[in-house]
């Protein structure tokens, strides 16, 4: 009985492997790409949440530390502006990293095939 079960597993294994290998190029630029876009969006959103960008922007005109004097309000506004800019930059940097990863995703699949062909054929023919 164990051998029949193993045969069944092997059968599935081969079928799945062939199907997935054939499906890989299509998947990479359809379903995979869509998932990558979602991941990039979520990652940038997460970065903005971690830096608290929206909270700082929302409270731009709210005095910090309960300081309601004119000078306090002014200092608070500029301080918050600086913080919004600094946190904005941090979020932007993360956005760039996420976009780079996205570009890398787009390129990695054809590059790996090119690499195999170039180096494989090159070794044979050069």
């Amino acid at each position: 009985m164990k051998s029949t079960q193993s045969a069944l597993v092997l059968k599935h294994l081969l079928a799945d492997l062939i199907r997935e290998i054939l499906f890989l190029p299509v998947w990479w630029y359809t379903i995979g790409l869509a998932r990558m876009v979602v991941w990039c969006g979520q990652s940038i959103k997460g970065a903005a949440q971690t830096t608290g960008l929206s909270i700082w922007a929302k409270n731009l005109f709210v005095p910090m530390y309960g300081e309601t004097t004119i000078s306090g309000k002014l200092i608070s506004f500029f301080m918050r502006l600086i913080m919004v800019i600094a946190r904005g930059i941090a979020t932007f940097v993360w956005m760039i990293v996420a976009l780079l990863l996205f570009v890398a995703y787009l390129a990695v699949f054809p590059l790996s095939i090119l690499g195999i062909l170039y180096h494989g054929l090159g070794m044979v023919f050069v």
Binding site: L8, E20, N59, G66
Partner: protein
């Protein structure tokens, strides 16, 4: 365990010669359809969708298992291959080009084996990435339940019905494995259908089932033979799939997971539902001492444990981004130095894991949120000490960390003010100033919700300040108090107007068991012990029954801690805490024998009459009635809502009524001192009811009610009951009926652990005359109840007693026996001084004769023994006639001689 049944199956086949040949399915995937031979509902309707268990058979299960195995294999191989190729290529490339300098760009364009290897590694990595992504993409989760939605409805699905959803896709690998095992088992036994018992055995190897068996103190060994016998009676034939009951097991397991907000159906749910669906299993477990309710509570314990783990993971994630200082995330708050000095930040405590995880108070928290969201009112949690008001506050703090709270509570912190710190050691003006400064900080900070434990502690000078502050709507507060303090100090005060009451009631036993189950993990970790289920159950049930001054769940948690400590000390690391350990602790606290009846005690109980006759001479009926009541109580057969037993003893003075009550106290409660004696002649008018249960408006309970409140496990002796006022008897009417009475302070005094004995001299003359005429005891009792006592007690009062017992006047022969008992007491007293004592039979008869008086029973005898024996011995001792090792011999006529002992 499962393998054991497979072996049994093989033997069974050999016996029956019915070897089932496994057939490999021709098709890869059989089309599954709802079965069309439905005799019972086969689906659940949730949000207009129908979830069903499609017709599963062994081939489908094998296909699923093979598919899962294939996917796992591809995952492992592709990941491993990509890593090896990638690292080998990169390593070879670095080796060829040196470690020190980065190679020129042209090097990458020179065809090499290493870069080809690297490229292949990257491509296999892409494949692995896709494979994993697809697996996670196809993961499906049980739909989330709306908070207010009802339990899903059972529906019948026809064979042709479309748009149904197969519940098997929500099954966790552990559940699929259990189902597969069920099919394998059915097939090996040659059974025609998979039934709940197969599913039960299939799930038995799951970790959760092992935990369940361990906690219940059961071993597989004890149930394997009965299950084998049950399996051998199932219908044989070619295996065609699940029977209706097993299909319902799957459906109900799915429903449980849905109601529990789980992502998947686990093996535990199958195990539990299979148990419920197979009455044979319930009988089998009952025989092993595990009821269906205990089994369910144990399943709930495992669920709670898993829930806490999920909750903890989610909480940790949220806690990482919650500020723990005075400052909120938007930095609009201000520093609060004065508030910080007199308070504790509960949200920060929650972040650092200092507060316990909350289980089972969601309803109360929801009510608090409704109060806060509803308007400008603050919430006041009202409940007795120990019911979990602090846990509700801790739960709110935890939700605030996760920001799963109404908008008004978001990005805020819950700060608990310590009222004793605020007011102690300073004049009231300073305390007022402190409070005002603190409230000012709170209002400027704008991110603080105040928590006030025991609001009644806020004095009349401070309450208006808080009231004024909260009335302005500057912030909210969540406070706690007890029902008594709420009525006395808050309800009609200024604070009563601003706080809206949210009741936190004592949980019932079932909920308390669940709350305790959620705490046991922490106690086990701390004390390094392991709790069995019966220990948890007894912590709740026994503390609820015998510790009336405190409330659940706190008293049960405290008992659990105490028992854990005791077991850790006595049995060392990993000691197992059992129900008996809990019973011992409760017994030592209360003096009530609540442990299981041991062998030697069984014998003692069965021969209780003989033991009692060691102190009571004659009065067979009374001794038998009392002994039977004790046996009932010890076997736990008594009703829980009435006193353990109640008797009315009738008879003249000196016949042994009080002595029997004392014997009872010593036998059942361990000491003669465990007797509350009430002289009813002190309660002769209506006003004396104040003395009994306290005067209305006073701050004290009654003498009697206080005595029982402080010693709820005792014999209550109501002496000379006939002298009490009828109004007093009405109070006892309720006590005898309900086992409780409410005192002047509104406290319920519990009598369910007392034995009530009332003595009465009413009808004494009649008893003596009737005994003299030789009437039977039954005839005397009937006449007493119908004639003599009618004028003194109302019939309904007499009916409340478990037994009305007539004590017959003592005969002279019984007086002789009592004399011997009294002499024995004297002998015992002298033994302590090293002096022997003997009384000749003639002298015993003489003493008995002198002490016998039919009217006064054995009472004159005590006086005679005192005068003729004790006095003579005392004189001899004082005169120095008797030394240690001497023996005093008392002969007829009170003649005393001394036998000198041997010199040392």
């Amino acid at each position: 365990m499962f393998n054991f049944f497979c072996v049994i199956a093989r033997r069974s086949h050999r016996r029956r010669g019915n070897l089932v040949v496994y057939a490999v399915p021709k098709r890869l995937l059989r089309r599954q359809t709802p079965r069309n031979d439905k005799s019972m509902p086969n689906g659940f309707s949730i949000n207009k969708k129908t979830y069903i268990a499609l017709n599963l058979d062994h081939h489908v299960m094998e296909e699923r298992a093979a598919k899962a195995s294939s996917l796992r294999t591809i995952s492992g191989i592709s990941f491993l291959a990509s890593m090896i190729l990638f690292l080998a290529g990169a390593g070879l490339f670095v080796y060829q080009n040196g470690f020190t300098t980065f190679p020129e760009i042209a090097t990458f364009f020179r065809p090499t084996f290493s870069l080809m290897l690297f490229s292949v590694g990257v491509l296999v990595g892409c494949f692995s990435f896709m494979h994993q992504s697809e697996i996670t993409r196809h993961l499906v989760f049980i739909p989330k339940r709306d908070r207010n939605s009802l339990s899903p409805e059972l529906v019948t699905v026809d064979a042709g019905q479309k748009d149904t959803i197969d519940i098997i896709q929500f099954f966790h690998p552990s559940a699929l494995k259990a189902l597969d095992s069920a099919f394998v088992l059915a097939e090996r036994f040659g059974h025609a259908r998979v039934e709940p018992i197969h599913v039960f055995v299939g799930a038995i190897e799951d970790d959760a089932a092992s935990i369940l068996f361990g906690r219940l103190g059961l071993s597989f060994e004890k149930i394997k033979d009965p299950i084998s016998r049950r399996l051998s009676t199932r219908q044989l034939g070619a295996l065609s799939g699940l029977d209706d009951a097993a299909e319902q097991v799957l459906l109900f397991a799915f429903r449980n997971a849905y109601l529990e907000d789980r992502d998947h159906v686990t093996a535990l749910e199958l195990f539990f539902e299979a148990f419920k669906a197979e009455p044979y299993l319930a009988d089998l477990f009952q025989e092993q001492g595990v009821s269906a309710e205990q089994f369910e509570n144990m399943v709930e314990w495992i669920r709670i444990h898993e829930k806490i783990q999920d909750q903890y993971k989610r909480f940790q994630k949220a806690a990482a981004s919650k500020p723990t200082g005075a400052m909120n995330r938007s930095m609009t708050s201000v520093a609060t130095p004065i508030l910080d000095a007199f308070s504790e930040d509960l949200t920060a405590d929650a972040v650092y894991g200092r507060l316990p995880m909350m289980i089972g108070r969601e309803e109360e928290i929801e009510q608090v949120f409704r109060v806060i969201e509803g308007g400008r009112e603050s919430a006041l949690l009202v409940g007795p000490h120990g019911v979990g008001k602090g846990s509700v506050l801790a739960g709110i703090a935890a939700l605030m960390v996760e920001e799963r709270v109404p908008d008004v509570l978001k990005d805020k912190r819950l700060v608990k003010i310590s009222i004793p710190h605020l007011v102690s050691g300073v004049p009231i003006e300073t305390a007022q100033e402190r409070l005002l400064l603190m409230l000012d900080e709170v209002s400027r900070s704008r991110n603080i919700i105040l928590a006030l434990m025991d609001l009644e502690q806020l004095t009349a000078d401070l309450a208006p300040l808080l009231n004024e502050y909260l009335s302005r709507g500057a912030s909210f507060a969540i406070a706690t108090t007890t029902p008594q303090d709420y009525t006395e100090s808050i309800e009609r005060s200024v604070l009563g107007r601003i706080f809206q009451k949210v009741s936190v009631d004592e949980p019932d036993q079932k909920s308390a068991i669940r709350i305790l189950e959620s705490k046991i993990g922490g106690i086990e970790y701390q004390k390094k012990v392991i709790f069995r289920y019966d220990a948890v159950e007894k912590c709740v049930k026994l503390s609820d029954r015998y510790m009336h001054e405190q409330y659940l769940p706190k008293k049960a948690i405290e008992i659990a801690r105490e028992v854990a400590e005791h077991v850790a000390k006595s049995r060392g690391e990993n000691g197992v805490v059992t129900g008996e350990d809990v019973a011992k602790i409760i017994a030592s606290k209360t003096g009530i024998p609540v442990t299981n009846v041991a062998e030697d005690e069984k014998m003692k109980l069965l021969h209780l009459e003989d033991e009692m006759h060691g102190r009571i001479i004659g009065q067979d009926e009374a001794v038998k009635a009392v002994a039977s009541a004790l046996r009932r109580a010890r076997a736990d057969l008594r009703p829980g809502s009435r006193p353990i037993a109640s008797f009315l003893f009738l008879g003249s003075t000196g016949v042994g009524k009080t002595e029997l009550a004392k014997t009872l106290a010593a036998t059942y409660f361990g000491s003669e001192q465990m007797m509350i004696r009430v002289d009813m002649s002190e309660y002769q008018d209506t006003r004396s009811i104040d003395k009994l249960i306290g005067a209305p408006g006073s701050k004290q309970g009654g003498l009697f009610s206080e005595a029982v409140r402080t010693r709820p496990f005792a014999v209550v002796l109501l002496d000379e009951l006939e002298k009490a006022d009828p109004a007093i008897l009405n109070v006892f009417l309720q006590i005898l009926d309900d086992g409780r009475v409410t005192d002047a302070l509104g406290r319920v005094i519990d009598f369910t652990n007392t034995i009530i004995i009332a003595t009465s001299n009413a009808g004494t003359q009649y008893i003596q005359d009737a005994v003299g005429r030789g009437e039977s005891t039954n005839a005397i009792k009937t006449h007493l109840l119908e004639e003599e006592l009618r004028t003194i007690y109302r019939p309904e009062f007499l009916n409340r007693f478990d037994g009305v017992i007539v004590f017959k006047p003592l005969e002279e022969s019984q007086i002789v026996e009592i004399t011997k008992l009294m002499i024995a007491q004297v002998t015992k007293r002298l033994e302590g001084k090293g002096i022997g004592f003997q009384v000749t039979d003639a002298e015993v008869l003489e003493l008995a004769h002198k002490g016998y008086d039919p009217k006064f029973g054995a009472r004159p005898l005590r006086r005679v023994v005192q005068e003729e024996v004790d006095n003579a011995i005392a004189n001899a001792l004082l005169e120095g006639k008797v030394q240690r090792r001497d023996t005093i011999v008392l002969d007829v006529g009170g003649v005393m001689s001394i036998q000198k002992g041997q010199a040392l």
